[in-house]
């Protein structure tokens, strides 16, 4: 198996699906000639032509609206929003049309499209190149939300997202676009949506995370091991519909849970998972449900290292979950 970065794996996924299915079209700002700001679509225009891989105007509303229309006509659009922070001029289409089409047409129409977009902090991008709005999308009935944490996941999940009959918001952790390499299966490779991955089995505490932060959790795990704490680490992968059974099974085993996300805390994915565990598994819990999150402020440029959860805060969260510190 070839070694790939997350970006290469995404590119591979797009190429595999475009070669297999000529309904797949790829477009967005600067995705054609230049191959995207982060080079995810590099080489695709040369290979598949300007009709299937093209540059759009600077117009998110148009990009997403056209994607919706093309999906109605049976194509499989993969629309790129350059940074998810720039999606909002087109948010109306997402919330009013894309998410609701299947419901409001009584099931006659679906919009099988993918909105691909880099998200998250870690690149010193400041206010408009760093946000983590996954909970905002997850709050809208009718959307699926997916976030890979490794190159293999990026490929397997993106292919599944393209093949899905309904709209998928596919958020890519830009911090680890180039920093992590691993062997990625060749050709058609899928990971089913809706399934978390047990990254490491453990018995003392469950740690749930996704995206770039999963790797911070793995670093924190080194410290936990030295302290004799056995953590079960879950990579959520699909934010919605999230994998409830795997989560409950793990909490039933460990009795403790720490949820690590980089988004602002209030009404975050961490909040929803915490509520879910509190409702369904309170009898198994031996300690407080702990959230380690970003802060409830717009993303700060200078204070990014303090804003994002890090090893110190994750380890502290685990100690709190275990009742070792108040």
């Amino acid at each position: 198996m070839p070694e790939m970065t997350l970006v290469q794996a995404l590119r591979d996924a797009l190429a595999v699906e475009m070669a297999r299915d000529d309904r797949v079209v790829v477009f967005g700002e600067d995705v054609g000639r230049r191959g995207g700001v982060f080079t995810v679509t590099e080489g695709l225009q040369e290979r598949f032509g300007e009709e299937r891989v093209y540059d759009t105007p600077l117009d998110e509303n148009g990009i997403l609206g056209m994607a919706a229309g093309m999906a109605l006509m049976g194509l499989r659009p993969v629309a790129e929003i350059q940074f998810v922070d720039f999606l909002w001029p087109g948010f109306d289409v997402v919330i009013s049309d894309i998410a609701k089409e299947r419901f409001r047409s009584g099931g006659q129409y679906g919009v099988p499209l993918v909105i691909r977009s880099p998200y998250g902090g870690g690149v010193k991008g400041g206010l408009y190149h760093s946000q983590s709005p996954e909970a905002i999308f997850a709050h809208i009935p009718g959307l699926k939300v997916v976030i890979p944490a490794t190159p293999s996941e990026a490929k397997g999940l993106l292919i599944s997202a393209i093949r899905d009959e309904d709209p998928v918001v596919f958020l890519e952790p830009k911090k680890i676009y180039f920093g992590i390499k691993e062997e990625v299966p060749e050709g058609e490779y899928t990971i089913p949506l809706g399934q978390a991955r047990v990254v490491q089995e453990g018995s003392d505490v469950t740690i749930v995370s996704y995206g770039a932060l999963l790797h911070e959790v793995l670093r924190a795990n080194e410290t936990l091991k030295q302290e004799g704490i056995s953590a079960e680490i879950l990579d959520l992968r699909t934010i919605l519909p999230f994998d409830g059974p795997t989560l409950l099974e793990s909490v039933a085993k460990t009795g403790r849970i720490v949820i690590v996300v980089e988004a602002p805390r209030i009404l975050s994915v961490a909040s929803e998972l915490a509520a879910f565990v509190a409702e369904r598994a309170v009898d198994y819990l031996d300690g407080p449900i702990v959230r380690v999150t970003g802060w409830d402020t717009p993303f700060p440029y200078a204070l990014e290292p303090h804003y994002l959860p890090n090893v110190r805060r994750i380890v502290h969260g685990v100690r709190r979950a275990l009742g070792l510190v108040p």
């Binding site: 000639r33 105007p57 010193k124 991008g125 200078a302």
Partner: protein, 307 residues
């Protein structure tokens, strides 16, 4: 030709260019990280236009590419350098970095065209409150294709607000040649919304100053909007990671040949140029040095649990 005025303008233009080049050097050395958008090649517009502003009466909105606008307006190198370094002494205390500046009557936003509906609101409020002054808003050619930009033009046309829209058409939106993804012309769009439209090739800072002065006076008096398109060019990358593989060779050649900064420089006595450049280089170096020494913001103050 008014050589004193030209010397004053050249000093500001050279300040902006030196600032941008210094930022490029900081990025190249890894002393600044993240992203930043330089305005090399477009300095004459910022300087020629904003030389007219009444700081107490007018309002100015910028874009993601607003170092030049900010410096033309305020001359505050230390505050801008501090902001880019994320220092507490920055324009907005290190909260924003390069794209998000706020200072007195000047506001910017990282969303292309994103300030424009607000700019119409500011102008309408001025009109309703019977206040003098106009609202000057910069935008880019790429930003002309955003829905909110077109909505803002319609609002200004419908409510006849004292807005001056200043389009800096540098032909590119990042790597996309804007013409290739634009239907019709900007002129017909703007006129379609009922706004007077003026186009000018931005080569000569004195000429820009004169033209804008006329429009500025007209809008101050009539309280009605005007749209002004400058043909210009950025002689640098879109942002720090840009290899500029997309440039149109003819455009590139024309503007290398006709760099408005060099044009102003050539028209000035050598002695004047030398004095200005030495002074500005010292000023910029000193400001960056002080910014490096300035403190970072305090996490305990900025990051607090809520509720």
């Amino acid at each position: 030709m008014n050589l004193d005025l030209l010397a004053r303008f050249y000093e500001r233009m050279f300040l902006i260019r030196t600032f941008e080049q210094t930022v490029e050097a900081y990025f190249a050395r890894g002393q600044m990280r993240g992203t930043t958008h330089g305005s090399i090649g477009q300095e004459a517009i910022a300087v020629g236009v904003l030389s007219h502003v009444h700081p107490d009466e007018d309002f100015v909105t910028g874009t993601h590419r607003s170092h030049g606008h900010f410096l033309a307006l305020t001359g505050r190198v230390f505050e801008l350098a501090s902001e880019l370094m994320g220092k507490k002494t920055g324009v907005i205390h290190g909260r924003g970095g390069s794209q998000h500046l706020a200072f007195g009557n000047f506001l910017t936003n990282g969303i292309t065209g994103g300030m424009l509906p607000s700019a119409v609101g500011v102008a309408l409020a001025k009109k309703l409150k019977g206040e003098p002054g106009v609202v000057i808003s910069f935008l880019g050619d790429g930003g002309m294709n955003e829905g909110h930009t077109l909505e803002a033009l319609n609002l200004a046309g419908a409510f006849q607000t004292p807005n001056i829209f200043v389009l800096e058409n540098n032909h590119y939106a990042m790597s996309t040649v804007t013409e290739r993804v634009t239907g019709g012309t900007f002129e017909s769009r703007v006129r379609g919304f009922g706004l007077p439209y003026v186009r000018h090739r931005a080569l000569d800072v004195l000429e820009i100053h004169r033209l804008f002065g006329e429009i500025y006076q007209r809008v101050r008096e009539t309280r009605r909007p005007v749209f002004l398109e400058f043909e210009t060019y950025r002689l640098c990358g879109h942002s720090k990671s840009d290899k500029r593989e997309y440039v149109v060779p003819e455009l590139e050649a024309y503007w290398r040949e006709n760099d408005p900064l060099l044009r102003a420089r050539r028209a000035l006595p050598e002695e004047t140029v030398r004095e200005i450049e030495e002074r500005v280089r010292r000023q910029v170096a000193e400001a960056f040095r002080r910014a490096e020494e300035a403190p970072f913001p305090d996490p305990a103050e900025e990051l607090k649990p809520r509720p």
